[in-house]
Symmetry: C2
Subunit: 349 residues, 2 copies
Amino acid sequence: MTRPVSIKNVAERAKVSVGTVSNFLNRPEALSPATRERVREAVEALGFVRNESARHLRAGRSRTVGLVVLDIANPFFTDVARGVEDAASEAGLSVIFCNSDGDPAKEGRYLEILAEQRVRGVLIVPADGDHERIGALRDRGVPVVLLDRRAARSGQCSVSVGDVGGGRMAVEHLLGLGHSRVAFVGSGEARQVADRLRGAQDAVVATGPGGAALKVIETPTLNVAGGRSAGLELAATPRSGRPTAVFCVNDLVALGVLQALTQEGIDVPGDVAIVGYDDIDFASAAAVPLSSVRQPRQQLGRAGAQLLVEEAEDPDHRHRRVVFSPELVVRASSAPAARRRRQVASSAI
Amino acid sequence: MTRPVSIKNVAERAKVSVGTVSNFLNRPEALSPATRERVREAVEALGFVRNESARHLRAGRSRTVGLVVLDIANPFFTDVARGVEDAASEAGLSVIFCNSDGDPAKEGRYLEILAEQRVRGVLIVPADGDHERIGALRDRGVPVVLLDRRAARSGQCSVSVGDVGGGRMAVEHLLGLGHSRVAFVGSGEARQVADRLRGAQDAVVATGPGGAALKVIETPTLNVAGGRSAGLELAATPRSGRPTAVFCVNDLVALGVLQALTQEGIDVPGDVAIVGYDDIDFASAAAVPLSSVRQPRQQLGRAGAQLLVEEAEDPDHRHRRVVFSPELVVRASSAPAARRRRQVASSAI
DNA sequence: CTGCTGGGGTGGATCGTTTCAGCCTTCTGG
DNA sequence: CCAGAAGGCTGAAACGATCCACCCCAGCAG
């Protein structure tokens, strides 16, 4: 409850000037051993802790970066966050972690706060298409790196994972198993969703006229609950018209769909095959281990933070767009070809 | 890339003094409409954003709080974080989110950073028993609220969930199903672990001499991977001596145990029943839906943040220890009594 | 007309740190 | 013995916002 200790108190106690204490903190080798020891003792005795705000005020730039994600409860984003955190702390930066909930208004408020904090830069998984606030930050000279989203123009860095390719990969896998009625489950404005859907459509279109068909099922939210409601909708569809394979926009949704189908007595993968997206740790622990499109989550975060640091330090930095490749992991939720073919035949009778 | 805009630039443009601009920002009603409009225009035109550091330097207190958790990848903690965030933003505070990974050194570094930032207060799920750093923070007058851990002395606030009771509840449930060889899976210094174990022991001891026995299986880490390794160890035990019921210190570990057992051909709950802890969303989506001890996660965080705010604002604040009660949620992973009894009988032959 | 009130505004001190010009000593080489 | 350099330290300016004592003037009562 005592008044906070400032550099001045330390200086008085050590009988040196404040400048010397500052040197002790930042360039200790510049002091004579005797002085250094006196200052060290004073710092110790008083329990002095630097005031980062004052430091930052003088320096004009802070030592923190902001990270804004869509959903802190989604393990995908916590893994990304961990990658960001690791890379940031290697660069001596701390991270302010913000959760936009996919709400542009909330996102805007957080960006405002980050701007007031004069963060060194911002990593963001944007909520939607309208980024005037992000633009405003950039205009103010704050580096912004887009995560999990490819930058539209070359005006900024981005790190993403090929979502179109991931979607195509997932659906090609399902088509390869003999499925011809496929559903895409997902919703929202986010580019990730649109891209995965596009990839799925590409794969279906490639089967030519009279080939496979893709049905889109909207979910209220992109979490387990949302998936559950989509699963119930699916279960309520008469079997004859029901898709035999489902590609879900992320694993949370896939888990929800799986739960609902199982609960309604629909066999996975016997009646309906499922492929998710992200390959979160829980995907393999599901009731029926989930096939999924794996993304390099930590690397995504790490690479983003590195680009951000580079942009902040290097004056003639060139913006880059890093794109990782997703990878399909096949598990029990998408049936092996042999079994599937048999089933198609019998249902054709 | 232009120089950042300060209150001074705004003042020049609006042809007023800096004091007036400050008033505009903090007490707009004190200005005459004409002046207010002029300043508003200048702020707008220059894209002025307050410098929070300068503000804070002058004010002596910041508008952020720190939150330190053990494992950001554990959904339990993300749910807690969400509760904290909600309550904090209602109080106009932002949250700096830190992940100690259960490592006291990393925890110490984060506390140091938070101290340098002069946060308004700290919410922490401490990594271990040695809290000198936390004490140092408190001595400096920074409110600290312990989360998920009961404060030892009355010198600080804490919000926790009765872990002893939770552990007892889980094991009593298993004993009630007829199990007599029970294992506890977990490890680490954290009080949560010790308390849940103690509760489990209490329940076992209550069965009297010649009653049930509790075996402790250590895991390398408290996540899915750790659980998997414990599960393999369990599977390698000869059936005759193998516990028929397992109480896991958290759901991640339980999911890992479940995976390993299933993979090794051991039926859950037929051969081994499992109860987890936390009741994270994924517990019910597991291969065998997991029985678990539910904790009010968001409320935990929310209540903690509220206590913190109260302690920071109210000079004659009395420390409080809030304790929530856990709740047992029974699912398929712990067999119903009827089935279990049959099985015990048959294995006794 | 005078004195008073109070709304509206000013300008400088202040917060804690860093930075930098400059001062004093001591040392070195010629 | 002296000029100059180098090392070690000092003290004040600056960062951007807030706060506060104070000033100015219009309006009003006496």
